[in-house]
């Protein structure tokens, strides 16, 4: 809030506050990875691996925080406000819900959606002995399975996962740098998340042949509880300001052959005053001009 509870005294403080206020085009969402009071080794490893995938747009909290996201959301909202994070992943473990991950997002520092997932099988980055791709690569996301369209909870989960792993929105991308793909399959009530390194092999034509190599974290997830936002709150959060809509370029048209036509609107012209080319030969000579003048002038008699 640049409103004056405390006016920022340095430029750096002002920039810090400006970064956090609502903008037309928003910053990349940052995720906070939190351990619960009873987090076990597996859940901690999951958090560390996701942190490695999502660097630098993630913060990993080192200490354990004794909260229960589904009961009380104030603690999460406080963290979100302090670190300006709108995505979170909370890991915990107890007998009733073993290896529990709560993935969620915020709107205006209040919890929007939360989905609880159980980790059934986990293969970590260090367990897979293949080469990895560089940190900060924008991943390709693929969702397979009709459950992701049919079931409302799965649809929200799909939206949450896209939001989580998307990374920054870029205008251009280097085609040779598409190295990382995250593949989610929904089958039999389970969600399989696999990460592969993409190898582009030569094929006869322009499009390369793809070979995949298993890399990185792979998780077998099962959906447990959900806390989804009501429809109108969700619609409110989806609302984009009008200024972001691309402006339509008027008076430009294309025809089938690829020619671009433009349309110019002119004001009314006085054709008598048009500047045309000067033809020196047609210019009236002084003798002719005098003759014309005397002929044309009215019968003026010079009275003395």
């Amino acid at each position: 809030l640049l409103i004056c509870y405390r006016k920022p005294k340095t430029k750096r403080a002002k920039r810090f506050l400006e970064k956090r206020e609502p903008k037309l085009k928003e910053n990349t969402k940052i995720a906070m990875l939190i351990k619960g009071g009873n987090a076990n080794l597996r859940v901690t490893e999951v958090l560390k691996d996701i942190y490695a995938v999502k660097k630098p747009f993630a913060v990993l909290y080192r200490k354990k925080n004794i909260t229960r996201p589904f009961e009380d959301q104030t603690s999460l909202e406080f963290f979100s406000k302090k670190s300006d994070c709108s995505l979170f992943l909370f890991g915990s473990h107890n007998k009733k819900r073993p290896n529990n991950l709560v993935i969620g997002r915020m709107f205006d520092y209040h919890v929007l959606d939360m989905i609880e997932l159980g980790v059934e099988k986990f293969v970590s980055l260090k367990d897979v002995k293949n080469s990895k791709c560089p940190e900060g690569t924008k991943p390709m996301l693929i969702f397979a399975g009709d459950m992701f369209d049919v079931n409302e909870e799965y649809r929200r989960l799909k939206s949450l996962l896209i939001d989580f792993f998307r990374g920054p929105t870029v205008p251009n991308i280097r085609l040779a740098g598409l190295e990382y793909v995250l593949h989610f399959t929904a089958v039999d009530g389970k969600i399989y998340m696999r990460s592969y390194k993409v190898l582009l092999k030569k094929s006869g034509c322009k499009i390369p042949r793809i070979e995949l190599e298993e890399m990185g974290p792979s998780l077998d997830l099962v959906m447990r509880r959900t806390h989804l936002a009501s429809d109108d709150l969700y619609k409110l959060s989806l609302k984009q300001p009008k200024a972001l809509k691309p402006k339509k370029k008027k008076n430009i048209s294309h025809d089938a052959f690829g020619t671009t036509y433009g349309r110019i609107h002119m004001q009314k012209q006085d054709l008598g005053k048009l500047q045309t080319r000067k033809m020196k030969g047609l210019k009236k000579r002084p003798a002719e001009k005098a003759a014309e003048d005397s002929g044309v002038s009215p019968k003026k008699s010079k009275s003395a």
């Binding site: 409103i3 004056c4 609502p22 903008k23 037309l24 928003e26 910053n27 709107f107 205006d108 924008k138 390709m140 996301l141 693929i142 969702f143 397979a144 399975g145 009709d146 992701f148 369209d149 799909k158 939206s159 896209i162 998307r166 929105t169 870029v170 205008p171 251009n172 991308i173 280097r174 085609l175 040779a176 740098g177 598409l178 793909v181 593949h183 399959t185 929904a186 089958v187 039999d188 399989y192 696999r194 592969y196 993409v198 582009l200 094929s203 006869g204 034509c205 322009k206 499009i207 390369p208 042949r209 793809i210 995949l212 298993e214 969700y234 959060s237 989806l238 609302k239 984009q240 300001p241």
Partner: protein, 327 residues
């Protein structure tokens, strides 16, 4: 002979092309949906559940095959995008991505347009536009370009100004340095006040003003308190029907519309009541006795005036007493 050979050659060439393309073509029942701005592909085909039910490496192989097919399709789409060589001829091939189409919720609500400040309104009215100022100014004395304000500014350090001219109509005894300092302080204060006023105006325009203003405790009027108490009473799940009243609180009759609208009797209700009401009305209209009892009205007025006089006298006495005590 030549024709046959030509046909053979063409067929062979087609065979080769198809062979090449086979390695990158993937067959799917339903087409995938692509959002290239997000590098996203959505596969609606139901996955082969029977195969994926197997445990261990078999499942992994199946998942890998599925992922490979989907990734191939996505990469094919990405390679279709308009690409150019960034950084000259030898640079990497860079594709221009379209805007992402998948709708994702925002992080924070979109910023509300701020109302214009007093200066901005005035400038718009007069047609004054912002002039871009140069960051450096030519300093005649130092004979170099100096910054407009800040460290080593163009006019010299204002703290070291050793001369302050006495203006034409001023008092010769007045301390000019003090006057300059005081005026600067006043200017700063006025600027800060205007900034706060602009912010308050913007804040007021943005935030919703509550319908009934709630003052802090101790500053509330009787009406405000009673209104708030009434609202609190009705804010239960059963809309205040079973709320016990305080010992001295008067029993309020239930009015659904909160005492706002006029309630009319239904048209064809109690015929006997209507009849008696009409007869009463006719009787009052026909009787010689006036409805207004003059004596009672006059007595009431006199009593009211006496009460007011007594109240005023009491106040005056207390005031006089206070004055006396102060002395």
């Amino acid at each position: 002979m030549v024709a046959v050979r030509v046909e053979e050659v063409l067929a062979a060439a087609e065979e080769q092309e198809a062979e090449k393309r086979r390695s990158v073509v993937v067959e799917k029942e339903l087409e995938l949906e692509f959002d290239l701005g997000n590098l996203l592909a959505l596969d609606r085909n139901p996955p082969p559940a029977a195969q994926l039910r197997g445990v261990g490496p078999q499942r992994e192989a199946q998942l890998l095959a599925l992922a490979r097919d989907n990734t191939q399709l996505l990469v094919a789409q990405l390679w279709e995008l308009p690409a150019e060589r960034a950084g000259g001829a030898g640079g990497p091939l860079v594709a221009r991505l379209p805007e992402p189409t998948f709708r994702l919720p925002r992080e924070k609500p979109p910023p509300r347009p701020k109302p214009p400040t007093r200066w901005e309104q005035f400038a718009r009215l007069k047609g004054i536009r912002r002039r871009k100022r140069t960051s450096l100014v030519w300093d005649e004395q130092a004979k170099e370009w100096r910054r407009r304000w800040g460290y080593r500014r163009a006019g010299g350090d204002p703290a070291r100004a050793w001369l302050a001219e006495v203006p034409a109509g001023a008092d010769p005894e007045e301390d000019q340095f003090a006057r300059l300092r005081r005026e600067k302080r006043e200017r700063v204060a006025r600027n800060e006040l205007n900034r706060l006023r602009n912010l308050a105006r913007a804040h007021r325009a943005g935030a919703a003003v509550p319908a009934v203003p709630l003052h802090p405790t101790g500053h509330q009027s009787k009406e405000e308190l009673s209104h708030v108490a009434r609202v609190a009473r009705v804010s239960t799940a059963s809309l205040g029907r079973f709320q016990p009243r305080l010992p001295k609180e008067p029993a309020e009759p239930p009015s659904r519309s909160g005492g706002r609208k006029r309630r009319f009797e239904p048209l064809l209700g109690n015929l006997a009541a209507e009849r008696s009401r009409q007869l009463e009305l006719l009787k009052d209209m026909g009787s010689k006795k006036p409805v207004l009892d003059i004596t009672r009205a006059v007595n009431k007025q006199l009593r009211q005036e006496e009460a007011e006089a007594a109240a005023a006298k009491g106040k005056k006495q207390s005031q006089r007493g206070k004055r006396g005590r102060r002395q």
